[in-house]
Amino acid sequence: MDVMVEARGLEKCFGRTRALQGIDLSVPAGSVLGVLGPNGAGKTTTINCLTTLLKPDKGYATIAGYDVIKQPAAVRSLIGVTGQFAAVDEELTARENLVLFGRLLRLSATEATKRATELLGQFELLEAGNRRVKEFSGGMRRRLDLAASIVAEPLVLFLDEPTTGLDPRSRRQLWDMVVALKERGITIFLTTQYLEEADELADRIVVIDRGTVIAEGTSDDLKNRVGGTFCKLELADPKDESKVRRALSGLGDITGTGTLTLAAPDGVTTLSEVVRRVDAIGVTLADISLCRPSLDDVFFALTGHTTGETT
């Protein structure tokens, strides 16, 4: 498979902060790479290096074979970038924004206008097209930002936390749009703090922490390393803990105190088995739930610390 984006040994320091400490990754053409990491992991810095906005201290990166440091102008004509914070002009209308970017990307005035209308339709902004962006909701802004990044269709689209801060409906809407872009063959480089999002959109996932890649694979690979779905039970009376542990023996490793966690490979079947056994010994549960691993769980499994703790 062809490599569209490649990075080798990227390093970047800001004063004493070592934001990137040797990032290696590659994205096959036409695929979606999800870069998963907590706040401050170096996601935005990685994107900035790949999109020519920042010069890495060490290492190199290429987009479709063009060197981001030595051929930045060429790289810029191949990429679309949607930054972490929607960068569109608040004083302009949605349509004016799209026309502006179209013109800057070499479309004629008529082509740019036509393309703007087309994109407004595609991103469900047609009705709001002639309103100023400062009146837009967060979700609309994000969609416009995404539309602005593909006014001239890029080979690679960079999306930095595209759904952070959106409600579930807007998030779903944006996901659908990203999937549509993927189906058109655009290679996508996406960062996120949500395992769920990477799971939904990405073909492969790279987990980064403190500027280094700590794991890589498909979302199934990662979930297997974390243990997939698990079952969480909270006891009404913590004194029952040893009793419960005995009753559940044979179902797998149980971790935690007070709140007990065990792997639930069979999902609901495991859950109901747990409920049955706990019932049988007459213990009351305060709560029981089936959980999918979150970024925190992935982190805990991979590094032994949670996303909140640093150093």
Partner: protein
Amino acid sequence: MMAIDLQAKAKQLVKTRCEVGIGRAIADSFIIGQRNLIRLSRQPAVITGVLVFPIVFLTAFLLAFERSMATQNIDYIQYLVPIITLQAMFFTAMNSASNLAGDIDTGMLQRCRAMPISRAAVLGGLLIAYLVRAIVTLAILLPVAYLYGFRFQSGVFSVIGYILLTLFFTTVAVTGYALLALGLKKPDLVQSLVIVPYAPFLLLSSGFSPAENFPNWLQPFVVTQPVSHIAAALRALADGDPLLIPLLWSVAWLTVLLGGFGWTAIWLYRRIS
């Protein structure tokens, strides 16, 4: 097979989207300039800044000082209009710093930097928009000054010269303030500091009042600093007085400042993060 397709497609895109050169820089500057003008036309503060402020200042200074200046044999309207013109341009440039800082803050600048447009286009577009604004300001200020008795004594070339020198000053001031915005980045910070250069350069100049009226220890600064020379050149243009010396000083100052500011601003633009 696919590798060749991909390479060919990439090459094609680079070829069509990534031209360089001066023509491209100018075209991109005009596109961004147009966008800036749309923005400006929608900011109420800009409208008052352009229409009302210069007139208010002109009127107020005239009322306050015309009599006392007359005792020094100065026809104050002729003396005052040049510095009021420069002051209006200074305010124009201050506003350009706020708008550029806003673009840095919202990420507009980063978006432009990731696009295959000329490196000079963002600054070029800023300049174009603010020069248009400057022309509009002049088109309002000069007729009002005429009503107050201000006259160009020596014909149409001096009017053109007056306008060109004013626009040259505006170019330098906008570039200088762009530098400030690129260096400080945070809109609040920029907003709170734009006034700082105003006090020494505008108020401590021979624009509002002759250098002799300043304390002795301050006079060397007052007579050497650029605004004094430019105001003098504008007065000479309006009055039909000997022009060469103040004009040479003005052009020399403005050229040096433009070179310094412009080079540094582009350098900062390229490496801003």
